[in-house]
Symmetry: C3
Subunit: 312 residues, 3 copies
């Protein structure tokens, strides 16, 4: 594995391998000194053309725990301001000696393009509506751990609720969840479903209430306020009424059911309960697992037989 | 000690203990390689919702010298932009594995609230008009060292001059200076005194000239230009005339008297002399001691019997 | 050597010494773990009052590879916003314990002023139209390596093309190239030549086409769009027609000739060919050598007999 651009190209074996590696990283993170020297002397560049403290911090933390050197760039401080092309930016930073670029960009396919301009590994940290592969991995790892599904997701029913159309998280998660054997139902108003949804390996529903008592995982997507402006949803209040996790709906969840969200949450909109009062809320476990999964990905791409048992 | 939120809850013994620990840190900072491994593997997050290069850099330097990993967040780059609540920001970063949050916020009490949402230690790096406890510690340490007052401030007369009303530095320093035994006089126009000043353990004066030749420490506060807009002071020029340290006033200081300022200074306003020409100016000593004091605080909160004699 | 402010004060022996030291750093950068402990415990502060991801990243990478602690400040996040003077900023950061300031500033002479306010070493990373000494060093090193000129540039003909008038790169490079023995021709329209160019140790031309087939090095300067606004150039298109490196001109370069550019390039303006298709393009080699040269400079200023053979 040289790059991680698209969760869809990974086989179930690849997914299981990365999750087994994540188990090791979780163990590292529980040590008194949660660091290993696995990537000493390697340089990881986080190149974020979209603002995301959450994902940037997660990759930053992951790289440091592997003892890599990390450089963080947000678009506003980059030479892109001087009109430099993405290609020149990548080639320039690459020429300084970089082992991996972690790229977030508003354009679908930008991380793939980056691979043409550098010998470094490239990790897609979210590109347009296209892919967010490390989010899918951390979500799979969270389900695997908390529903004790080490061998696969056969028989699991996962509902993904909300703005599927504009969501790279939904696209990546549908691919990963179904690759591992889960049955996925997309729950959204017609305006928030993607054009060719009938070609996706999922069922579609517009009725959350008929499903909520049956699913093993309820995965809520962030409701972007911009969608109101585009008139894709009449109002946030009506959205919450039809698709939000309200106290009434939460009470109907199965006892073992997990509630997940990629963050940041809109409290009172899609998350109309306090997740800290839901026993099945995975929201903070997802964040914690995100660091371990990103450690596993960076180690898989850049590690060279280093021993994870040694402390940094 | 789990958090440092408010200087007022520390006993004189606590203050002396932290200052003794600061002595060790001063010694570390004088070594050829001024680093100790005391906090290896610990993560310190500087979360600054108010801009302050000075204080952020001081905490950053302190944490690095103890070999902690440091992450710095300024509000403008944080997910708060996406409407995420302070609570979700804290819980999310905390879930990635954080040992201490250093929080600066414009709202009084914000650092206290942060303690409810994380198991990490919290250090108040300035909240509204409320508290700035590490500033008070570094100021006490500077006086203790330069006036050779290792056992306390009994008999010392300290004047704090300027905008007491809006100053967290004044609030914290009054508590710390008086706890150590000093007599404090607040010198300000009535518009810049706090509402219930008569309940403070201080005397109040509107006449700097009658005091200047008697004090051991002259502590000048920063005069915010915003106060002019609020019409609390007629003009900067009149302020300087009545409350600024002018060459005439500086000439009347006692030979051993210290001149202190929390920075950044308004030269020509409250600091109407060049401090580099005042033998008693502590301005840069305060900055230097600030790093050592913050090392002591972080070590007190996060250290676990580590040996400061070892080099990193 | 305590500071590096101006390339013009270095003797040819100084230049050769720094380039020999750069050879060592190139070797360090080729190791599996490209780090040496030479500057452990030293703190390097990058203080950039002008935006430049490229130069900041290069110094940042250089300092980390020598195991220094690095702090990066961009002007927008600095206390300068609160009206603090440059002097107070320098004295304050310096009081926290700094070994070197790397300063970029829009005012010529600012780094020289900084030396008055700190005991730390100061490196000029570009000041106004005045100097950019590390750029000159990396350009000399690139020519020395790629034209195999270890003993000097006698007999080499170097053309510097473009906006000489506003270019600190041109000023520093003319001094360094001629000190090493090269013959330099400046090629520019009269509006983009400096006032007293007749006192410079160069020849001047307005005709790139008569020169292009004769030079050993073609050094293109960035054409700032602002110059159009100032009416110093009629249009970018006419500029490219007269002074840009077009495919026709590139075809007339001598087989061994180098094409250099300090970056960021304006593709389609001064660089009207794809440099990745020019065998003599040094653009990315300049970037790579920039890190090694800056390591050499920081080591020369701050190193104390440390052994470069040891790995960090």
């Amino acid at each position: 594995m040289k790059h991680l651009l698209d969760i869809g190209v990974l086989t179930p074996d690849d997914l299981h391998h990365l999750m087994a590696l994540t188990d090791h990283m979780v163990e590292v993170n529980q040590r008194p000194i949660p660091k290993v020297p696995a990537l000493r002397g390697k340089t990881v560049v986080n190149l974020f053309f979209e603002n995301s403290t959450r994902t940037l911090t997660s990759f930053d933390t992951a790289a440091r725990r592997l003892s890599a050197d990390v450089m963080n760039f947000a678009v506003s401080s980059s030479s892109v301001n001087k009109g430099e092309s993405l290609r020149d930016t990548i080639e320039t930073i690459s020429a300084m000696g970089v082992d991996a670029f972690v790229v977030r960009h508003k354009s679908s396919g930008a991380p793939m393009q980056v691979t043409k301009w550098t010998n470094a590994s490239v990790v897609n940290a979210g590109d347009g509506w296209h892919q967010h592969p490390t989010q899918a991995l951390l979500d799979c790892y969270t389900i695997r751990t908390h529903l004790n599904r080490r061998t696969g997701f056969d028989g699991l029913h996962i509902a993904i609720v909300g703005d599927i159309k504009h969501s790279r998280v939904a696209r990546s998660n549908v691919q990963a969840f179904t690759a591992l054997g889960a049955h996925v139902t997309l729950v959204a108003p017609p305006t928030l479903l993607p054009p060719a949804v009938e070609t996706w390996p999922v069922t579609v529903s517009h009725d959350l209430d008929s499903l909520i008592a049956k699913v093993d995982v309820l995965y809520l997507l962030r409701m972007q306020r911009e969608r109101m402006v585009d008139a894709l949803v009449p109002s946030l209040r009506e959205y919450t009424g039809a698709y939000g996790l309200t106290p009434l709906r939460a009470a109907r969840l199965r006892p073992h059911a997990l509630v997940m969200h990629p963050g940041p949450m809109n409290r009172g909109v899609e998350m109309a309960v306090d997740p800290s009062e839901l026993p099945g809320s995975m929201v903070l476990h997802q964040v914690t697992n995100g660091v371990a999964v990103r450690m596993a990905v960076l180690f898989e791409l850049l590690g060279s037989g280093a021993d994870l048992a040694t402390s940094a």
